[in-house]
């Protein structure tokens, strides 16, 4: 074999430590971790980055990224990140939060960090369920979805509707960049990676608050196989949580390789309030209406 022609096309990002993660099989946290680490490598910012982990499944994120990390109280990561960033304005600060953390107990903190235009980046992993505590209803649990605390399925009459955080936060004047992507299949994963890169670039250029919401899976608590879970993201989550760019401040497109002028953009323009998850109630496997 002529090794001169061999080149490395795929390896562990330097920003990701060579350790085994605690995540369940089929969980997409691993994918998201890798994407963030790749972006830290690509932008060359690993050694000036400070991460803030949330409470929930991603509480151990600090064990996996090779950068400085703090672990915040439940929901308070945006406040803690604000403190870090304000005293280290020349460093890159990001939070890594789940839906229970960001959209329930930490709603006030994320809303106000966003509305201040806090120059931090938020990686928001939305799998519609509380994972760490064993699968209870989250603010993002879809209507009709069974969880351990909505055993008959989420009844919007008594339990309310899922919160669309990207849409909600994009109504504020503070944020510079708010998008929703999904990590259920390779094309979407590539688009998610580009969005994460843009979000960090927004911070590098001190343009303000950036957040990438990532529709993810929780096979164990959804009571589905990993592949079934990926299908649920496509067929049930995306209709309720449409993918797209919800807030892109002037100037962001110029610094981003997501820009339509540089590449073909997938047809995923946001349509807010379009879907009410028509598939729920239909007999599918797992917690989804069995």
């Amino acid at each position: 074999m002529n090794t001169d022609t061999l080149q490395v096309v795929y390896e562990r990002p330097a920003a990701l430590l060579p350790v085994v993660t605690h995540y369940c099989p089929g969980c997409t946290h691993g994918v998201v971790h890798r994407l963030v680490a790749e972006v830290l490598d690509e932008l060359g910012i690993r050694d000036i980055t400070i991460g803030v982990a949330s409470v929930g499944c991603s509480v151990f994120a600090y064990n996996y990224f090779d950068c400085d990390f703090a672990q915040a109280p439940h929901g308070r990561a945006p406040a803690m990140a604000t403190g870090v960033k304000r005293v280290h304005p020349d460093r890159i600060v990001f939070t890594y939060q789940g839906d229970g953390d960001l959209a329930a107990i930490g709603t006030a903190e994320i809303v106000h960090a966003a509305t201040r235009g806090e120059n931090i980046t938020v990686i928001f992993v939305n799998n519609g369920v509380y994972g760490m505590t064993g699968g209870q209803m989250a603010p993002t649990t879809l209507p009709g979805m069974r969880t351990t605390s909505s055993p008959s399925g989420r009844d919007v009459g008594t339990m309310g509707y899922p919160v669309r955080m990207s849409e909600l936060l994009s109504q504020l004047d503070g944020p510079a960049y708010i998008v929703r992507r999904a990590v259920h299949e390779p094309g979407h994963i590539h688009r998610a990676r580009r969005a994460i890169k843009t979000a960090f670039q927004v911070q590098q250029h001190a343009m303000g608050f950036s957040m990438v919401e990532l529709l993810s899976t929780c096979p164990v608590n959804w009571n589905l196989t990993p592949s079934e879970s990926l299908k649920v993201v496509e067929e049930q989550m995306i209709p309720y949580f449409p993918l797209g760019d919800f807030k892109v401040a002037a100037g962001v497109k110029e610094l981003s390789d997501e820009h339509p002028s540089r590449q073909a953009q997938p047809a995923e323009t946001a349509v807010i309030g379009k879907a009410r998850s028509p598939i729920f109630g239909k007999a599918t496997a797992g917690v989804f209406g069995r």
């Binding site: 690993r46 050694d47 000036i48 980055t49 400070i50 803030v52 982990a53 509480v59 151990f60 600090y62 990224f65 090779d66 950068c67 400085d68 990390f69 703090a70 672990q71 915040a72 109280p73 308070r76 406040a79 803690m80 990140a81 604000t82 403190g83 870090v84 960033k85 304000r86 005293v87 280290h88 460093r91 890159i92 006030a108 903190e109 809303v111 106000h112």
Partner: protein, 363 residues
């Protein structure tokens, strides 16, 4: 140095600035709001961080973040707001991150009122958040002392990597007194070996309070306990006056001690031998000194602006060596010196008083 007239809240704010405060995060609440307002004006000019948070929860976690980043960080609040900060304080305690808080106590429980009390004593000294920890609690009895204690609070916090709380009340915050303000101190620019600043040219650092293994968390707790034991050995502070010949000892802290001091002056003028013992550190409590005093003084009167909280620590210190009585007013009612004097009179044998003294005792 020339003394200047300072309002308590503003004196604390300026002393914090001069003591090296780099980042302040706070939320308005009476009776400490002037502290926040003062720093809103003062900090930007010095290119230091001032940020009004959306809540006390956010404020304390901003302090957590800034302090984890190595900055001298502070917040201030009053009782209901201070209650909201307990979650953050427990995390900060576990993470060994130094920071300074000011609690300008007001009437409670609940929303209570905006009048001065000392009702947070339990919460301050026993660890208001979950788990085993004690912040270092400093209780000033004057505006000058509030400024002095705040000035030194950051170095104290950093020495032990602990929380330091300035525990005052609405009296101290709102009154004006002459203050000899300490000089501006340079902010130390150093890597303390634990702070988060980006892992350039060094291994990454983690600040976390999560320890899933019991033995691991026990080790953390043992370290915390060892630090607290060291603080108990080295940092106990108190003031006493006229204790050498006293038959009765009044024990009071903060503004209650000021009132007690007036009552003691009146009692002394009537021939009664009364002394004052004033804890300055509420935690660590000056147990040893009080225990020693109790061997010669048979009666103790504890005066507090609450239903009797510090009196428990006094009883633990005194034991059976002396009788301990308590006098307190609640709800923000501040007793007059005459009320305290009346309690002193009723606690002491009437023989020790000059009943013909022209200063009447209001009963």
């Amino acid at each position: 140095m020339t003394k200047e007239l300072w309002k308590g809240n503003e004196a604390i704010a300026e002393a914090a600035v001069r003591g090296g405060l780099e980042a302040y995060f706070g939320y308005p609440i009476t009776p400490q709001t002037e502290l926040l307002e003062y720093l809103a004006k003062r900090m930007p000019g010095l290119k230091r961080v001032f940020l009004q948070a959306e809540s006390e929860l956010a404020a304390i976690n901003m302090v957590y973040g800034a302090a984890a980043g190595g900055a001298r960080a502070m917040t201030s609040s009053s009782s209901p707001g201070f209650s909201l900060m307990q979650e953050g304080l427990s995390y900060i305690a576990a993470s060994n991150v130094p920071c300074v808080l000011v609690d300008m106590m007001r009437g409670g429980p609940g929303l209570g009122n905006i009048l001065p009390t000392q009702g947070d004593y339990f919460q301050l000294t026993k660890g208001g958040g979950h788990g085993d920890y004690h912040p270092l609690v400093l209780a000033p009895a004057s505006v000058q002392e509030a400024a002095d204690l705040t000035y030194g609070a950051f170095e104290l916090a950093e020495r032990y990597r602990t929380i330091v709380i300035i525990a005052a009340d609405g009296n101290i915050g709102q009154m004006m007194e002459p203050v000899d303000m300490p000089p501006m101190r340079a902010i130390p620019r150093r890597d303390r070996g634990w702070e988060l600043s980006g892992a350039r040219n060094r291994p990454r650092r983690i600040i976390s309070s999560l320890y899933l293994q019991g033995e691991e968390l026990e080790r953390l707790n043992q370290r915390l306990q060892a630090t607290m034991a060291e603080i108990e050995t080295r940092e106990v502070r108190y003031a006493e006056s006229q204790t050498a010949d006293a038959d009765l000892l009044v024990v009071a802290f903060g503004s209650a001690a000021r009132i007690a001091q007036s009552a003691i002056k009146d009692a002394r003028a009537r021939g009664a031998k009364v002394g004052l013992f004033r804890p300055i550190t509420l935690w660590p409590f000056p147990t040893d000194r009080l225990r020693a005093l109790a061997q010669t003084i048979k009666q103790v009167l504890v005066v507090e602006l609450n239903a009797g909280q510090m009196v428990q620590d006094v009883r633990l210190a005194v034991g059976a060596a002396a009788s301990v009585e308590f006098f307190g007013r609640m709800g923000g009612v501040v007793p007059m010196p005459d009320e305290v004097l009346a309690r002193i009179v009723s606690a002491m044998p009437s023989a020790s008083f000059d009943r013909d003294h022209p200063w009447a005792i209001a009963r």
